[in-house]
Every structure is written in C-alpha cells, then in structure tokens.
Symmetry: C2
Subunit: 430 residues, 2 copies
C-alpha cells in the first residue's frame, strides 16, 4: 500500500472521530496551534529563510507570497484566534419539521468528511486552510507549492502535533509533497469527498479532468467591467483602474472592459490617460480604436485572463449585448456594471450568470475576507454546492435526522396515519 | 449541428429569460399546464392506453408505474396547483451584509440554469419534474423511459405548448427520446449545468462516469437497520418488516439488518416468523444461523441492493461495529437504529455518514413527499450541494450581488476605507 493510500485511509477513519468531536475541543485545538506556532517561531522563520534563499531567482510577487516572517506569523496566529471565536458551523439545526405526531425530521449541518486541498506557495495558506478544515470538522490532505517545502514542513509539523496534543484524532491531517502524491490522491474516491485546487488555470483544469472525486475550484477568473450609457465617467475610470491595476495577478482582476457606444467618446479618452499613468496597455476593438489610439485587440484577447497590466476594450451597442458577451466569454466569476440607471443595473445583475454581479464597485472585492466569511478555502466558479468565495459554510454539508417511536410507512400507506408537515422551531435533540 | 446540440443551445438561451421571468409568470404557467392537461385528457389517456397495450408482457410493478389514467391525471394536476401555490424559491435574499458604509453584499437565490433529467417509465414523473424545473426557473432537457414514449410525447406536447402560450421562453424545455440523445447530451457541458439521473443503479453509474457535467443522483440504495441491545423487540420486528417488505423495489427499502449479540436470541426468532409471513427470505451470517435456521449469507450479500424480498442478517458485538459496517458497506443513503438508549441513538446518528440517519422509524420514510419538500426531482447520495431527497431548493443556487457607490479595493488597501461587515435584515433592492 502506498503512503498516500495509507494517509487517505487514516484521514477517512479520523474524519469519523473529528465529526463527533465537540466544538469546544476543535476550538481549543485551534488556540493550541496558535500557541505552538508562537513558541516555535525561530524554527519556523528559519525554515522560511531556507525557502526564500533557494527561491532567489524567482520574481517578486512569488517571493512576496512565499515570505513567512514575524509579521505573517503574528497575522496567522491572530487569524487562528479569530476563527476559534467564530460560531461553530457543525451541529446547527437548519430546519425542523414534524412529519406526523411523534415523527420529527431535522436537517443538521455536518462536515463533508475528507477534503484534499492543493494550494500555491503561500505558507500562510497552509495554516489558514488547515484551520478552516479543523473548525469545520473535516480531515484534510494538504499539498502546498514546492517552493515552500521547508516552511510547510515546519508549519505542518508544529500545527499537527499541537492538534494531537489537544486531543484531535491521529491522522486527521497530512502533508503531501509531490505531484505524484497528488496524482495518487485523485484516484482515492473511496476515501476523499472533495478536492479543492487553487492556483494556475491549466493545473486546476487538469485536476478537474483527472478525478472522479468532486472538485470545487476556479479554473478561470475572466472578470469584466461594463460601462453603461448612464455611467458616471469619473467613477467608471476609477473602477477600471482599480480592477485592472490594483493587483493584476489575481483571479478577481478586471480583464475585459465593455463600454456602451453612447458614452464611449466621453469615457475612453480619460480611461486611456488613467491607464497609461497606471502602466496598463489597452487592446481595443475597431470601434474603440476609432476613439483612442491603442493596440488592436484580437478576438482571443476577449477570451484571455491576462493576469497582467493588459486590458481588452470593446464597444457595444446595448446592455443586452454586453450581458451576452460576458455570459459567452467570461468565466462566471465576477462581473460589474457602472451606471446611474437602476433598471440597467437590475437587468445586468439578473442577466449575468456569474458568482458575483456588482453595481458601481470594483471586481477586486470578490474575496472571502472582504465578504466577511472569515478566511476562504477557495473561490468556486461552478454553480453547485458553493459559489464564489468558499469559507466555513462551503466546507459543510448536512444530514437528515429522523426521530420516531416505531413509525412504519405501512401505517401511512393504509391510512392509519397521516402526514402533517408542521414546521418547528427546535434544535435536534440528538 | 445535431438536434440535441440545437435543443441544448436553445435551452441555454431560454434559461437566461426564464431566470428573469417573474414568479407570477412562472406560477401562472404552472396553472395553465394543469388546465391544458385537463382539457386534453382524452388524448393523453389514449396515448397511455397505447403504451400500456405495447407493454403487455411487462411485469406488474412496471405496468403500475407506466399507467397514466384519470386518477393519475387528477393527481398530477393537483400537484401542479400545489406547486404553483408554494413560495417562489427564486430571488430570496439569503444573507445581507454591509461590508463598509454604502457597500452592500446580498446572497440571492437563483436558478441553476439548464438541467438534464433522465427518469424511469413513469409519465407522472415527466409532469412533476418539468413543473419543478419551471417553478425553480430552470430550463429542462427531459428523457423518460422508452415504455412511456407515446404518453410522454402527448404530455410534453400539451405541457410545453401551454407554457409557451403563458409567455415562457421558446425552447425552455425539450423532450429527448433515445439513448443516443442522452449520450449526446452528456458531452454538452457548455450548455448544461447539471444532470439528474434516476432509475437503475448501473445506468446511473454509467452517466456519472461518462460526463463532465456535474451529476446529482443516487447510484445505490443499500439501507441498513441496526437493532441495538436496548431495542424494543416488537418495534424492531415491525420496522424491519416495513423496511423490507412494504415496497421492496425502491431505494429506501432495508437491505441489511444488523443486530447486537445481546438481543439477538430474543429478537431473531420473532423476526424470522414475521419475515416468513411477509414472504421474505433471510440470509444470515454464522452467528445468526446459530439462533435461527435460514439461508447462509455470503460476504457479497452485505454489499447487495436486493430490491427484492431478501434480507441479509448479521450479528455484531457492539454499536461501533454496526456503525463501521454501515459506513463501509452501505451506500450513504438512509440507515436506522432501533433502541431505547438515547446515548446509543446519539452515537449512531453522529457516526453513520449517510444522507438520512433515523432513530426508531422505518428507512422507507426517505422521500421528498414524506419529508414535506413537495415533490422530489431525485435522491442524492453524494454529499455536495444537495443530500437526500432533492426538491425545489436542490434546483437552486445563489449569486452574490454587491451594490456600491464607486468603492475601490485600493481605498481599503491604503487605509482610507475599512471593512465593517455588519449583518443586515434586508432584501436585495436590485
């Protein structure tokens, strides 16, 4: 038996114990992790210095994400304590119905079971994801980026040992280290309930196409901003610059800008000036280039997640054309309209089939922290189970508990008993 | 372009219009369908007579399901009117948060989009499923069993025309007729958001393994009844007989019975007598056969969905052994414990990882109508999105609507603005 099969089987067994662990025990374990990370700070920072030294040749955004210094450690520990203080997501009665006298149905939140998460080279993500899984009662198989290998080993070792010392079941979490480990994990649909891949587009698609385990994740972040005929021009320029340039390497950055033909002559010149100042290259369609000088956009530019200081710009005749374009070319992540016209906003928000539909604000707000979900384990662009930033709630499911006194279906079929279906305000007693 | 591709593209386009159709229009269309079915009763019953005549050689349960007579028609129309009267599942604000002054986030229920449903030879299912999809604002591709071909054509024709006359968008529903149609549909992940297969185990697995479209359905219904040491023997016998014999051909029938060794000598003899009377054959493990005479159970019998008057019977040493057996050999559908011991019930309900976990009642209660969900479109045994009987709520998802006044992320990053995350009691105004 391979190591990964063994780890997955241990995680499955541990998930049963974890699902039954009381909220106080899981919360206590999160606090113990914070204390352990603080106590082992010198070793953790040294491990990160090792990774940072090896990463010398990498570009700056990657180094920035890879860094795990005293400030990041303090932030991670504050995050653990904030998470421990949140209401427990497990065991909540979501709905209660008396089906018939003495026959009561409760829908109760429970953990999903075993979750596999594959994430980028960001050591703070390891702490955050493991903590979200523990808080939601899920066993976790974690695979971080290889650039963070030493930091992840040190962080995981401290975290895992602290949770065992706090009484969490052995094997509830494990650290995977290689791509081969991930490939093996994808075949273990008997032991793993959900895979959450984060990071590069091609990699996420690869995961989705190579596993029978359900996958929640985002394969693309191709977000659009539509500047309506009734837009405030200054606001539209500011939102376009923020969406594109504030942090271009992320999935909620704006990649496509569509503008209504009536406002294009007033909007595009100040847009071009502001984007030039922000270092952004515009690629315009023919109608945009008739108004401002810029690079020509190929058709493919409207299907491209640039993740860079490049913006595709197109002119449309109607709001309906903008909505149709976004539904056809976008990635159903987050799309925004700028307009003073309430009916136009309503039509856009109803018509665009995306996880986030925004009125008069930047696409960059699509994020679990900004949404107030606490941390996020990923952003889902599919439509099932969870949509958009996934926090604790996305890591839970429910079970129906039916409590009776010997009721048979035969009695209902014969007419001796009858369904009443009375809604109750009551927590499940079991 | 094949007919199916064209139908799926039309459904995708119609789904955008349907999602924007007001609740009153969708409800009115349901009432119009009821009137149309009543007006066309003679033609509908004649089409069913045609199918019934061709089905002459089929066995009785199938004929019973295939039958669509005046009583079934009246029931279908009553169901349509009841569904029309239910609260609309679309547009509800599930959560509202003020992220910062003037920046408000709303999570709002919306349709999934385009749903493909494959169902058995039960004409009333066509009406029920089409109605659930319409009520929840989803476009629907429907494929019924081939034995019901003429009835389905007649029903679908009447239903679809009535919805068009009531203003629903052209192409919102389509009827598929062949297995080849289904095979083509499974490849159309750009147009279809969800597949719901109902019916035989092997067929459902085939669907799950041959599509990249998300699939919600149940591949198995291997339900267990555990008779605890502290069970009431009479109740346990009655629940076992009801679970096994009341309707053995369905997914919520009891297939495995586990009994604690302490109560086995008192429970098994009356169980054997009652089951003999109900025509049920018992297959026991060695410890059961030491108490009652019965057929020997092979290991495979504890992994078999008999769908027949056969029950696998095993003796266990502990509740934990029963829970471990059910998690390993069951199908995570519905499992029950009979006991007077509250702590035993609590441990079983927490430990068994199934969509339904029952105390002192029959596994046969697992059903959308009995749960009070109105009708059901299927029963899900996976853990994501929907679990157990799936009604209207299972056919919805949500989108996040964020309404601002020009807010940029840059202002929050620079400290000019700060997140407040105030929970609000407010419906989304757009």
């Amino acid at each position: 038996m391979s190591d990964i099969v063994r780890l997955a089987q241990q995680a499955r067994a541990a998930s049963r114990a974890l699902a039954a662990a009381p909220a106080r025990a899981r919360g206590g374990a999160l606090l113990a992790v914070a204390r352990a990370l603080e106590a082992q700070a010198p070793a953790l920072l040294a491990a990160n210095a090792h990774d940072m030294a090896e990463a010398g040749a990498l570009d700056t955004p990657l180094r920035k994400r890879l860094c795990f210094d005293a400030a990041k450690l303090a932030e991670a520990c504050a995050g653990l304590r904030a998470l421990a203080a949140l209401p427990d997501p497990i065991g909540t009665t979501q709905r209660a119905t008396e089906l018939a006298p003495g026959l009561r149905l409760y829908r109760v939140a429970c953990p999903i079971g075993v979750v596999g998460v594959i994430f980028e080279s960001r050591p703070d993500a390891l702490v955050q994801i493991a903590a979200l899984c523990l808080k939601s009662g899920n066993a976790a198989l974690l695979k971080g980026g290889r650039e963070a290998l030493h930091t992840n080993r040190a962080l995981f070792g401290a975290l895992y040992q602290a949770t065992l010392d706090a009484g969490m079941p052995s094997g509830w979490a494990a650290l995977l280290e290689t791509r081969q480990d991930v490939t093996e994990m994808l075949a273990l649909d008997a032991c793993i309930d959900l895979i959450i891949p984060r990071g590069g587009n091609a990699f996420v698609r690869h995961i989705m196409q190579n596993s029978r385990i359900p996958v929640l994740g985002h394969a693309d972040g191709l977000c659009a901003l539509y500047v309506d005929a009734a837009a405030d021009v200054d606001m539209a320029v500011a939102l376009a610059v923020d969406g594109k340039a504030q942090y271009p390497a992320v999935c909620n950055a704006t990649e496509t800008l569509l503008v209504h033909r009536e406002i294009a002559p007033r909007f595009l010149p100040p847009l071009a000036a502001a984007m030039a100042q922000a270092g952004v290259v515009l690629r315009g369609d023919a109608r945009a280039r008739a108004i401002i000088p810029c690079q020509p956009a190929a058709d493919a530019d409207f299907d491209t997640e640039f993740l860079d200081l490049i913006l595709a710009v197109g002119v449309v005749d109607t709001l309906a054309e903008a909505v149709a374009h976004i539904n056809a070319h976008g990635s159903h992540h987050t799309d925004a309209i700028v307009t003073r016209d309430t009916e136009a906003a309503r039509a856009f928000l109803a018509g665009v089939d995306s996880a986030g539909v925004y009125h008069n604000c930047s696409t960059r707000f699509a994020d679990g922290y900004r949404y107030g979900l606490g941390a996020e384990v990923g952003v889902a662009t599919g439509k099932l189970h969870a949509r958009g930033p996934m926090g604790l709630e996305g890591l839970t499911t429910y079970k129906y508990k039916l409590l009776g006194h010997g009721q048979t279906v035969g009695a209902f079929a014969s007419g001796q008993a009858a369904f009443a279906h009375l809604s109750m305000e009551e927590d499940c007693p079991l």
